[in-house]
Symmetry: C2
Subunit: 235 residues, 2 copies
């Protein structure tokens, strides 16, 4: 039936590193814009002119159009018919929205994952915690945090659930920058991370999920406070 059930080989890694990083121009544009938006280089409300982007990225308008459509489906840009695309705005309400989604998805993923986590996966998560301890750059910090969380959820199966989780975890990066800038990155709830990992190692899914929920609630409150302070200062 299956002539090559396991095509993974050293050649794949070689090909992945050697070949151009993106298969199509559309993928390139999408990845570039996505990173720029998530890293805050394109603030909310920025109009995205197709022709300008095409010129700047060295492609024609068409891959830009398709990329914008995909980003629209991810709620990163807002496309109005015949009026163009703008980067989606960030706000306290949107941050709360995102947290409600993460608060629903991530504990579910964690509960499903813990019974099937391997020791290697837990070790990887632990390594990511220690990497976070010494990472000075906030951008890398967000990436490591994302990788740590996803490493804990990796054994959940359910690829769609995991993809959704990762997408919204990444979407949160737009707010993480504010968060870290506001309250200093050193207290990024590393003890929560360690406690979650320990509970996971003991197979205590419910306990780990409870820590995660508190972790997320705490982060949500910090973001809400930051927005409240910013609006008070701006007003």
């Amino acid at each position: 039936m299956k002539p090559a059930p396991d095509p993974v080989s050293p050649l794949d890694a070689l090909a992945a590193s050697a070949a151009p990083r993106w298969r199509t121009a559309t993928e390139f544009v999408e990845a570039t814009l996505k990173a720029a938006i998530l890293e805050g280089r394109l603030p909310g409300g920025t109009p995205l002119r197709q022709e300008e982007l095409a010129e700047r990225l060295g492609v024609s308008r068409m891959p830009v159009r398709e990329a914008l459509r995909q980003l629209e489906a991810q709620a990163l840009v807002e496309v109005l018919p015949h009026r163009g695309a703008v980067v989606a705005e960030i706000s306290a309400a949107d941050a709360a929205d995102l947290f409600a989604i993460r608060r629903a998805l991530e504990p579910a993923a964690l509960r499903l994952s813990i019974p099937h986590l391997t020791e290697a996966q837990r070790d990887q998560a632990g390594a990511l915690i220690t990497a976070m301890d010494v990472e000075p750059d906030p951008g890398r910090m967000g990436l490591l945090n994302r990788q740590f969380h996803m490493a804990l959820y990796a054994a959940a199966g359910h690829p769609r659930l995991l993809a959704l989780t990762e997408q919204h975890l990444a979407a949160f990066d737009r707010y993480l920058r504010f968060h870290l800038a506001a309250q200093g990155r050193e207290r990024m709830a590393q003890q929560d991370h360690r406690a979650m990992l320990e509970a996971a190692a003991r197979g205590e899914a419910a306990a780990a999920a409870a820590i995660l929920e508190a972790h997320l609630d705490q982060a949500a409150e910090a973001i809400a406070r930051f927005f409240a302070a910013r609006e008070a200062g701006a007003a």
Copy 2:
């Protein structure tokens, strides 16, 4: 500040019914394909040739391309570079995946919504229950079920959470057809629906969420049994 804070008028309804239903050809193609996939008219694995679709729908290939990209982001079709798009396959694993997502999102939405539900919204939900009692058509049934669930979640705020919930509730329609066909529609847990509504009316969010979770678990088991039986029969 706001020159027209409430632009709703009889003219809007008129315009909505008179004008062509879709603003752009892309929207038309996307809606058409989405409905066809969710209703089961396009089974999993069906290849979607751009030129053929364009001809059949009376548009050029370009709106088809953009629509396929949007459907890809919704996991309804799978697009492989230079190899075209196929309708995403359904499977027991994917159904379980979808249920894990619904099981995470919907109780969260319900908990957030119940404290803010108005009596009018509850009445609407009740009307949808009675409408389901007398609906013979399975397709309409799925629509009513979706509307009932969303009516209960409507007061949750958090537009992104609601949009995600609705999207995955709609995605489940592909399996609902199987479900209803297999075990007869009359027992579609109408008592669960009524119990949820009553708990919501009493403001008991936790109780309503518990009923919803059991409701979803039960549906998930039914689908799993159906798939197991089908595979046993096919083998």
